[in-house]
Amino acid sequence: MEAKRNEDRLWRSWNEWVDTPELKAQTQREFAPEAAPHSDFVSRRQFLKLMGASLAMAGLSACGYKPQGPIIARAKIPEEALPGESLYYATAVTLSGYAKGVLARVYEGRPIKLEGNELHPASLGATDAITQAEILNLYDPDRSQSLLKFGQIQPWQVFTSELTQQLALQQAKQGAGIHLLTGVITSPSLAAQIQAFLKAYPKAKWYQWEAVNNDNLYAGTRLAFGEFLNPIYRLRQAKVILALDSDFLYMGPAAVRYAREFADGRRVRENQREMNRLYVAEPMPTVTGFTADHRLPIHSSRIGLLAAAIARAINAPIQINATGQLTPDEQKWAEVVARDLMAHRGESVVIVGEAQPPEVHAIAFAINAALGNLGKTIVFTAPPEAKPTLCTEDIRTLAKEMEAGQVEVLIMLGTNPAYDAPADLNFAELIPKVPFSVHLSRYTDETSALCVWHIPESHPFETWGDARAFDGTVTIQQPLIFPLYPNTRSALELMATLNGQGGKQPFELVQSHWKSAKIVPDAQFDAFWRKSVHDGVMARTALPVKTVALRTNLSVNLPTWTAEAQLPQPTPTSLELRFAPDPTMYDGRYANNTWLQELPKPVSRICWDNLAFMSLKTARELGVVGNEKVAFVHDSAPLIQIRVNGRTLIAAAYPIPGHVDNAITLHLGYGRTRAGSSGSGTGFNAYTLRTSDAMWFTSGAEATTTGQRYPVARTEEHHLIEHEQLDSLHHRPIMLIGTLKEFNDDPHLTKKRHGESGELPSMYRGYKYDRYKNPNNYRYAWAMVIDPTVCTGCSACVTACQAENNIPVVGKTEVIRQREMFWLRIDRYFKGSPDNPRTYQLPVPCMQCENAPCELVCPVAATVHSEEGLNQMVYNRCVGTRYCSNNCPYKVRRFNYYRYTYYRQPVLHLLQNPDVTVRGRGVMEKCTYCVQRINRARIQAKKENRRIRDGEIVPACQQACPTGAITFGDINDPDSTVSRLRREPHLFTMLEELNTRPRTTYLAKIENPNPELNMEAHDAGSH
């Protein structure tokens, strides 16, 4: 049955490989589909080819002496470079134009890891999963390398000459035929180039398009305040937060910062007994929803009513004309929340998501105004974007003009409208109508294939550039590596070419722009410039806070679609269809990033696919699942056909707990046909149902089962919501859960639930970690404490771990066979009824047990205890009996069933972290607390004859964590942060009675429910 699945997969990827010249061209450039992770017979054939190699490896592992290789001695070495030591450079990763600051670790001229940049407002030293994975985009072997005209490789000269011709023609009519389509642009220097171009061609037009955009927000601010504004939330001050269909902890340019601020208001300690309260109302569970203290599943189309109810309850200065009612439960919910909000005037905030129509945003601003939150928990600036606009309007107009044939020259920078433009515009059919279309992009994607010219885009890490963060702060992006491919150009360079400055280096373009910006007097500019580049943030560029006032006698009509909510609830025959950006693919641009493809989606734990999510009840009504008790142990989901206003899509249906009934949620970004060898042919293309009049949700959808099934890779058995397993969660000492009230009554939750823990006897002589064997010879004992109370399950740590430790990607088939390799996984448990369960997330790395079951059973001593209490895993000693994994109660060990790390493309070798062994086939591997970082720090400290400072060693997971849920340190030092955390009364040890005495321990998960709302899940004794 695997075989069959493989064939499917093989065929699907083959379909794109036949008879398309540019892809043929790619194959000529040795772009074979083996960029795809190990998953099918193709790669098995590789293995056969590899036979020689693997046998050589056999010899190697047996006897260490292979013929010595060469040493390449540089001719000259730059001063700052110390052979074998890495350098860190500050730069930024952008997503839909917005910057997130990072520090890139560059080893011998190749960036290998991204860390957050403390100085950057959107990072605060942390990153999200997508940012972590950006490094893989740089080395993606499927990146386009050469200019293509109708798929034929061409040199630059040909393009430039044709371009100049075209521009000359346009010169006459002041560029009336020229249309620019870009993504949202915040980069000042690029914007300057574009403006210059528009000055030269006054009649030329510039449009921006993002599939996931701020239209509703901007329209909302215009409605409420009369202008486009950019709200910034100050969540540290917020005691009560209400999120309406908003995933503010995970999505959006400031998510990392918001997550941190939110967490800071939530860390419960013996001496810190306050925490904020989060209410979320949303249709499909999100990271934010799963983190909420109270979550209300409600249709997107009815959230307006909810907002209205709250607005009325606190009589916000807004006149709302709405039809349709809330259910009694929803009504009560609204009232309780309203009361709670009013109880926290000036320290509460209401946040609305991008999917909600402008009216709802306006209502929310009114509520915030009424609560006196404006200027406190929510402030406004001008939009950081160079030209704030409503993308949907833009793309619609452009489409019209193309239809009318007014577009003679179409220059597209980076966007992929052929794939993600609204379906009703038929953009893909319009592009070929344009006589001279140019598309700059990193891949020969769906749009490139339709354009006359495809220009390969360089990766931001290869060139100079700049971008603004959510608050306007500018980061200068500096190159981290010499361009991998000579022909690639950045958007900035291309615009410069259009402006006849083709000769200029990107560095000049950027620097000269900022020189002319006159932020500082020219005399100080050099120093200022150096500092800006070095710090990764440019001083005095953050946008000033605007004082805004709500428009007087503000009045909104909730748009007509809510009228449908007057009808009885959406029914199985008239479902609500909701579109949402995919947690890892975003709008589809990361489709070829295998790290993000394989990363289990924070909520659904699915990888390699997007599915049609729905509630268990709906799934049963649609006949997607039967009434069997064990709901979905299978590795496959039934395919359903979704029909809405004449458009149809076949997608795999998947029930997910907590989803609102009679609704389907589709994540954008899948079903791509030209994403690259790994991304093409995964999932289902939601854009085919998405129209410009209903960008985020629509009603009246129908779904019918097709009788076929579709293989689904998921890293957790979903039947955990089944009752028996719920029990086991209740009783298995896996996680300790309590409410703030319980904690305040008696913080010793652990003792209360488990009785006096104390040391259980062990038959083995314990290890000694005496602190001062010799006064100036300090010994360490490493430990980690994880705080699930602030963990949002965003999975940044998982990707960070993967990047740091060379963890291979295994592919869908292997994940289905339960062989994913993540050293750090995030367990997710449900409690309560599947309709709206409580959800608990728990990051699980190796526990580094004192009495480690794994160490005992290894016949070759490949996993042993270290002087500092780590369970060392010696890959080169392991023979692969796998007993250690069997005996590990936490199941954190991973086994190389095949030779997963095998790249046909040498470029991928540049990605590997030289400090960590790349594991071969047949060996066990696991988390080691990033021992390479520990060793580095220890060597440094020993050279300086000092102790390792607390916080000097930061494992990859801790470094990436936006909420600071992970703490690592030395417990021989009583004053270290981790020691202090381990003295907390609610410290909890996973599976304590096994007496494994883990070094990784947890704090209790503390929730802050509102007593006025009944939360059956909050019954006592739950853990």
Binding site: P70, A75, G84, N777
Partner: protein, 240 residues
């Protein structure tokens, strides 16, 4: 009926038994000793190099300090193979047109790297850090023994695991005062005077009794340099 076997077959039979047993023992012992032999470990075989560089000439005869060319040895994991520009500091003045140095000049002018052949090679799963060793009093020629005598550079030690462990399990046998690390002609003091002289030279305190031999000197230094002996044999020190 005719005898199938002759009398001497008895001898053959006995010989077979004895021989079999002996062969078994020989196999085990032979195998273990062969894997330790230079023939197996390639110690003492100088690989061909683009330029016949002589450590003997530069290090011993001219007395150039190791760190002049391998300057990163004290700071980095890698001792570093000197770039051509380092060679050119002298060879732009002397031997400026010796044909032997042509590759160096080319490299420098064309900015093309020189491709040397590795002499000391460790498997990928071994992580060795030069800096910590030289900073804790392990002399260059503990591992690169006799480097200063080599016309052509060859590996002088097996660099096999047991060899490394010899020192990692009891460093006091090999450690020397930090000041002597780069001294190729360092000898363990034999007399008390020499020992006192050595310790005073490097300002090493010894409480009461003067160390008499390497073991005692080593013990003293291991203690003074805060070397955590037990930990040196942790797997993760070299393997990650």
């Amino acid at each position: 009926m005719a005898q199938v076997f002759k009398r001497y077959h008895n001898t053959v039979a006995r010989a077979t038994i004895g021989g079999g047993l002996l062969a078994l023992i020989a196999l085990v012992l032979g195998g273990s000793s062969i894997t330790r032999s230079p023939w197996w470990t390639r110690a003492g075989e100088p690989p061909d190099q683009p330029v016949p560089f002589s450590h003997k000439h530069h290090a011993e005869e001219l007395g150039i300090d190791c760190r002049y060319c391998h300057w990163s040895v004290t700071k980095s994991a890698h001792a570093g193979v000197p770039p051509a520009e380092v060679c050119m500091t002298c060879h732009s003045q002397i031997w400026t047109n010796s044909p032997l140095l042509q590759p160096i000049r080319d490299s420098y002018e064309k900015d093309q790297p020189i491709v040397w052949n590795k002499v000391n090679d460790l498997p990928e799963f071994v992580y060795f850090d030069h800096s910590i060793h030289v900073n804790k009093g392990i002399g260059c020629n503990e591992c690169h023994a006799g480097i200063e005598k080599m016309q052509l550079t060859a590996k002088s030690q097996p660099f096999s695991m047991w060899w490394c462990l010899n020192c990692h399990r009891n460093p006091e046998k090999y450690i020397r005062p930090k000041g002597e690390v780069f001294n190729m002609s360092y000898k363990v003091p034999r007399t008390a005077e020499e020992m006192r002289a050595l310790l005073e030279k490097h300002g090493i305190q010894w409480n009461g009794k003067l160390p008499r031999n390497q073991e005692e000197l080593g013990a003293l230094l291991v203690n003074q340099y805060n070397i955590h002996k037990e930990q040196l044999s942790d797997c993760s020190v070299c393997h990650r």
